[in-house]
Structures are given as C-alpha cells and as structure tokens.
Point group: C2
Amino acid sequence: MVTILNKKQSAILSSGRELFWKYGFRKVSVDEICNAAGCSKMTFYRYYTDKLSLAKAVYDEEVDQAIQKFRDIMQAETPADEKLQAMLSLKSDSVNNISPEFLKDFYSDNDSGLKEFIAEKTTKVWSEIISDFKEAQQRGVFRQDFKPELLLYVSQNISTLINDPYLLQLYGTPQELIMEITRFFTYGIAPNNSKMSSK
Amino acid sequence: MVTILNKKQSAILSSGRELFWKYGFRKVSVDEICNAAGCSKMTFYRYYTDKLSLAKAVYDEEVDQAIQKFRDIMQAETPADEKLQAMLSLKSDSVNNISPEFLKDFYSDNDSGLKEFIAEKTTKVWSEIISDFKEAQQRGVFRQDFKPELLLYVSQNISTLINDPYLLQLYGTPQELIMEITRFFTYGIAPNNSKMSSK
DNA sequence: TACAAAAATACAATAATAGTATCATTGTTG
DNA sequence: CAACAATGATACTATTATTGTATTTTTGTA
C-alpha cells in the first residue's frame, strides 16, 4: 500500500524523523517539529492526531523500507552466504538508521505507548520475515533442519538482553551488542558452515 | 590555574559535557545529568549552583584546552605556514568539539545567560590570542603590516554572519561556514602568499 | 469573488523541571 | 568506636514547558 502525502505532511514527517532520530522521542516538542517543518501547530494536528502518531509513522516508514530491502535480498538468485552477508550489512544499516536516541526512549518509556506499538510492529514484521525464511528454506537456500521460529524467540528476548547492564558494558553500545547477536545467529544458520559459498 | 576536582564533581562535569554536547543546553535536565554521573541531585547542587554554572564550567574547560593547544602551536619553532596549518586543523577540531547542538542553544537562547558568558569569555580569549599573535609577529613569523586586531573585529561579527540565512544555506551547516571563514582569514595573513613554506 | 488550506494567536489543562529542605545512609578518620 | 563529612533518597513548591484545542486572520487558488 502506497500512501500519498501532500507537501506539508511529508515536511512534517521528515522533520519529525530528523529530530526524533537526533534527540529521541521525549526531548522533541511538537512546536519544534512545526518550526522545522515550517508549518503551524494546527496543520500538524490536521495530519497527525498526536506526537505519538507521528513517531509511529516515522517508525513505520523506516521499517517498511527495511523490510522491502530484506525482501529484495531474499528473492534474489544468490547463494546463502551472499544473502547472509547482505542481510548482515542491512541489519547493521538499519541499526544505524534507527538511531540509538530513538530506541532509548522506546526502551525506557513505559507510558507513551511507543513501546507497545513498536513491539506489535516487530511481531508482525518478524512473522513476515519468518515466512520469507521458510520459503527460502524450501528453495534449499538454508539448511532444512533450521527453525526460523528460533529467530522470533530471540528477537522477543533481545530487548531484555539489550538492557542487561553486563552485556552492555561488554559491548559498549547497544548497536554493537545487537550486531554481535545478529552476526552470531546469521552465521550460525548457513547450510554449510565449514565451507561457505561452495554450492 | 589548575583546579582539582574530586571524583563526583568530575563525574558530573564529564556527564554534563557529554549530554550538553549531544543535546544542547536546554534539552538536558539536571536529573538526567545526575543519573549519568551516578549521583544525587543534592550532590550536584553542592558543587554547582546552577545548571548554568555547570555549562559554564564545561565550556571553560573546553576553551582552556583549545587555548593551550593554540599556545603550543604558536610557541613552536616552525615556519608560518605550518603554524597556520596547525591552527587551521585545530580550529576545525574545536568546531567539531564544541557541538553545534551546544552552540545552537547559545545563539538562540536570550535569557539563560549562557550567551553573555560565552561572549565575555570569547572576548578574553581573543585578546590573549591577539597578544600571542603580536609576539609571534615580533619574531617575524607573520608579515609586519598585518593587524591582529582585525581578527577580533571579525570574531565579534562572526555570530551575525553565522546567523545570516543566506550564508547558511550557501554553506549548509554553521560549521562549514565557520571553517570557510577561518580558512579565508588564516590563509590571508601568511607573510608570503604566493609561495608558502619557502623560507 | 468565494472557498479551502494554512497561519497566527490565544488558551486551559497537564506535565516536566529547577532548586530546596529534610532525613537517612555511608564512609572515613582520629 | 565515635564523630564528622560526604552522599543519597525522598518529598515538595514554584515555575516553566508542553500539549492539544478553539478562534480569528491570512494566503493561495479555482
């Protein structure tokens, strides 16, 4: 589904993304967004019911783009190791794309509703990813006895992992930690572990 | 003058710098700083009367370090063009060091007092720099008919330049603009413009 | 002109923040 | 151990910021 936005609305969207990305959700005020977008507050509330709904839209857009890229990788006629590598760099991209500031608010805030929204979205996205995985598995891209559901389990527990102080100080930044986890799982599911790229 | 700080105080100072640098002055709350520094609010107010006084301390420290580096460059036994180049990269360093977020609040806020403080400090620093320049000039490092006071004049007007919308859109970011101005003036005061490094 | 979109402004209710006061806890030093 | 200083925890008030809305102008445009 492609939603067409008019000029003002997309100005608000991109200003929102920019500011949220930089400062996180809480620190950014609606007024600030309006100033950056060059519109009045009324216009803002014409297009978005809340500050929250804008954040959702921003997040949605980002995830949708990431999903699209993921699909492209999965659909392409490349061997598993190349797929894995592409996914890996995609993952690290999107980790850099979705700023740590944004994620910080999302992990610590309990009341804003952002958390629930992102959790829900994450679930949906992961079930899509899993079905894509299964499809690729059918085509023999990954080894047959690997269960994609495992990824879901991990992803659902990853937020607790990310908040674990010990792990955090071990890796420095949440991104590093996420990357490490991703790397581990990605490389662990190749059909042929010892010799990659040998069809 | 070297001020010795105890552990907590320096923890507050560095947490403050980190947060101010990232988010600017306004967006950062005292509670946030205390959490980052691992101390209670009481301890904060034991060492700093204000949020503002912490910001001043942070800025002070940064400027003093920059000044020190500048002095080192001026005192060294190197030809003018090397001095200029070193100062140039120092300038671009400190532009990156003093974050645009911090400067943004400083240029837009009118009431907090940060503006006045920084303006005052800037004046002092520049007069020191000028006397250093004159000394180097005496030693024949720069051409004799160049007036260091010109730099002061420029620096005092630079804030209006930086806020000029036309110039800003011409250079994209304030840093770029500052760098361009600096570059222009630095290269313009070499004793021998056509052939640098030819003693 | 007439109409719709946007801006400007003002506003009330709510939430966040600064800074203080009080009391409890720790840690250190003689 | 006792006494003292440094720090923490908590609660609190006054002030400021922010949200989201209502109302009135301005602007652009068919």
